[in-house]
């Protein structure tokens, strides 16, 4: 079985769907963060796949993008975790069902 673009895209889509499902269905804020990270990873995988099977696989453009994306994701995860800690300190919970102060 030769690796093809479709295979990577399906894997990436599956990973995105898993992440989305986690972000939508879990109650714990940290799991939602994990889901979001998974969707980010799926996007990164797409970058790599399109670069590898694209017109110029020799240039390290896709890798560079992905490394930047991972770095940003790391920073974003740090911000997200910090937010969760603050939310926890405030509400004494991380269950997003009980954190509904954004309602209009």
């Amino acid at each position: 079985m030769t690796p093809t673009l479709q295979l990577f895209l399906i894997a990436s889509a599956a990973l995105f769907c898993v992440g989305l499902l986690a972000a939508l269905s879990r109650r714990h804020a940290i799991f939602i963060l994990i889901g979001i990270e998974m969707m980010l990873a799926a996007a990164g995988l797409n970058f790599i796949a399109f670069w590898r099977f694209g017109p110029q696989p020799a240039l390290p453009i896709g890798v560079m993008f992905t490394i930047f994306a991972i770095a940003i994701a790391a920073a974003e995860a740090a911000v997200g975790l910090a937010l969760i800690i603050v939310v926890y300190r405030h509400y004494r919970t991380t269950n997003v069902d009980q954190i509904n102060q954004l309602k209009g």
Partner: protein, 657 residues
């Protein structure tokens, strides 16, 4: 000096009027100040009256007037004025003097009344209005004071307002006289329409001067009769006399003032004042209007003299006697004896004031008992009151020689005997003289003679403040006769503008014997009938039905009650019915129509306009609620929405490419 007083004639009514206003502004507790102000005002008015009286004595036929413009409308100026002539001057002195006596008497009589100050304010006002009435040189100004007199009488008759009978009597007096005043007012308007002026004298242009009288023509009779209607009301002539006896509900000084000096004198004075209108076009002293005056006077004089025979209230007897005497004066004016009528008015002012104040003294002593059946034997207990009352009684009855009333009555009888139209009034007046003597004897016997009955038991002579005015008036009653005798008819000639001559030979006239006989008959019959009078009247025992007829005032009040008042009540009920059912129905119908249209527009508003707006709001609110429900605050649902949106975009993209 006297000219200054004549030029300031208006001060005479203004001073008591000012006093009245000042007294009204005083508090109820300032009794002394109120009485002092009223009396001082009256003394000043009396002094001024005497001051202006003097020049009229010096010049026979004196007449002086001052006119001024009240206001101007368009081309015409309404002018009023003051007039001084013998008639006005002599009335001024009489009114001011009798009022002064009554004021002094009131200080004692009303001493215990809680509204003492108000009483003096009204008294002053009453006197001011009457003084103004006699000096008016304009029918309009006279009418203004005339109505002021009416107002003052209303206030004073109803002075004891907490007594329902007093309130009713005040109303009766005011409304009854108002009927006559309506006639007076119409006559005044008519006069103005014909002659264009209401001034009496205006240098040849006045309504009572030849030019003004000429312009009246044939309407003079109607005008005179309309003005006489006012005099009928004020002077208590038949058929409007019913208010006068009821006016006895007021305090006794008020009765005295109404009967002697003010109010009732106004009617006689009015006729005398506008006499030229009455006598216009007279054929040997007879005109239709004067004939009416004579017969009204005769009817009044006889009816009330008869009614007076059967009254039990000491003041009511005097009231009917006043009505009777006023009738006599009217007869005198009607038959042409103007001077005689006015002389009797003056003499009557003094002796009737005396009699009323005397009855006040008696009532005061008997603890406000007015029924003569409960008095009796007061002669020994109240000698001063008895003596002065006797003087008044003899003057009223017409005992010859020493009493002023006798001379004036003789003058009147003399005038009636000369009337060319008919001799009947003369004989009826002779009968009136007998009746007068009879009812006065009856009253004297019941009050001052015989056994002491219940109310007289604790009676005692009144204090000097009550008796002094009585003595002053009694002296005047006797002294006045000096200027009334045929030997020296000073007052008569003064009034008719001639120089009096002293002729002692004329002192004793045939008429003197006639009146002596008549009065003797009256008093003799009175003594015979009432000598042993007890609680039931001898007349009542002899002729019970006649007595009852007279006691109930010939049923005249009842007759008015059944006819005029019943008519009034019927009209009131009718208009009440119309109001309730007819007019009210109309109003309700209009209201119904309005209400129907109102309902219609309401429905349109509610169902069309409001409903549209409501639906729009409901829809907006529902949509808002729907949207707001999406804002659950659940982060995940937001995220889901984003995902769904993303998916939708993807599908759209796929479908498009």
């Amino acid at each position: 000096m006297s000219n200054w007083f004549v030029a300031h004639l208006w001060l005479i009514p203004v001073i008591p009027f000012t006093a009245s206003l000042v007294i009204l502004s005083l508090s109820n507790a300032r009794r002394t100040a109120a009485a002092a102000l009223a009396i001082v005002g009256q003394i000043i008015a009396l002094s001024l009256s005497i001051a202006v009286f003097w020049p009229t004595v010096q010049t026979p036929g004196y007449r002086l007037w001052q006119n001024f413009t009240w206001f101007t409308f368009g081309e015409q100026a309404l002018r009023l004025g003051f007039l001084l002539d013998p008639l006005a001057a002599v009335m001024l002195v009489m009114i001011a003097f009798v009022s002064l006596c009554i004021f002094v008497f009131s200080v004692g009589y009303m001493a215990e009344d809680k509204n003492f100050t108000r009483f003096f304010a009204y008294l002053s006002f009453f006197s001011a209005a009457m003084l103004g009435l006699v000096v008016a040189n304009s029918l309009l100004l006279l009418f203004i004071f005339w109505e002021s007199v009416g107002l003052a009488s209303y206030l004073l008759i109803g002075f004891w307002i907490e007594k329902p009978s007093a309130a009713a009597a005040a109303k009766k007096a005011f409304i009854t006289t108002r009927i006559g005043d309506l006639g007076f007012f119409l006559g005044m308007l008519w006069l103005y329409g014909r002659s264009g002026t209401l001034l009496f004298y205006d240098g040849g242009n006045g309504a009572l001067e030849s030019a003004g009288l000429l312009s009246l023509g044939a309407s003079a009779t109607s005008i005179a009769l309309l003005i006489f209607a006012g005099a009928i009301g004020k002077s208590g002539q038949f058929p409007l006399h019913v208010w006068l006896p009821d006016a006895m509900e007021g305090p006794t000084p008020v009765s005295a003032l109404i009967h002697a000096a003010t109010m009732v004198a106004a009617g006689v004075f009015l006729v005398a004042r506008v006499y030229p209108i009455f006598s216009l076009g007279a054929i040997s002293g007879v005109t239709p209007s004067l004939t009416v005056v004579v017969w009204i006077g005769v009817t009044t004089a006889l009816i009330s003299a008869l009614i007076a025979l059967a009254q039990w209230d000491i003041k009511r007897i005097l009231a009917y006697s006043t009505v009777s005497q006023l009738g006599l004066m009217m007869v005198s004016l009607g038959v042409g004896g103007v001077a005689a009528g006015i002389m009797h008015l003056l003499a009557h002012g003094f002796f009737k004031g005396l009699l009323f104040l005397g009855s006040g003294s008696v009532i005061h002593a008997c603890h406000h008992e007015q029924d003569i059946r409960r008095m009796g034997g007061l002669r020994g207990l109240m000698p001063l009151t008895f003596l002065t009352y006797a003087v008044g009684m003899m003057a009223l009855s017409g005992v010859p020689l020493f009493f002023s009333g006798a001379w004036t009555k003789e003058e009147i009888l003399h005038a009636t005997s000369l009337w060319s139209a008919s001799r009947i009034p003369h004989f009826l007046m002779l009968l009136g003289v007998v009746l007068t003597a009879l009812y006065m004897t009856r009253q004297m016997i019941y009050v001052f003679f015989g056994p002491r009955r219940t109310a007289a038991a604790e009676a005692h002579e009144s204090s000097p403040i009550l008796t002094l005015p009585l003595i002053a008036l009694a002296i005047c009653v006797v002294a006045l006769s000096v200027v009334l005798t045929p030997a020296w008819p000073w007052l008569h000639d003064y009034l008719s503008g001639e120089r009096p001559l002293l002729q002692f030979a004329l002192l004793v006239q045939p008429a003197l014997y006639l009146s002596l006989i008549l009065v003797a008959i009256g008093i003799g019959c009175g003594v015979l009938i009432y000598r042993r009078a007890q609680l039931t009247d001898p007349l009542e025992r002899a002729l019970p039905s006649l007595f009852r007829f007279l006691q109930n005032r010939m049923w005249l009040d009842k007759l008015y009650d059944w006819t005029i008042l019943a008519g009034g009540r019927f009209a009131a009920a009718l208009s009440d019915f119309l109001d309730r059912y007819f007019w009210d129905g109309l109003v309700r119908l209009c209201a119904g129509i309005g209400s129907f249209f109102g309902g219609l527009t309401t429905r349109f508003d509610e169902d069309a306009i409001n409903a549209g707006v409501n639906d729009a709001t409901d829809a907006t609110r529902g949509f808002g609620r729907l949207i707001s429900r999406r804002h659950s605050g659940q982060v995940q649902s937001y995220l889901g929405a984003i995902a769904v949106g993303m998916l939708a975009l993807l599908i759209l993209y796929a479908w498009l490419t």
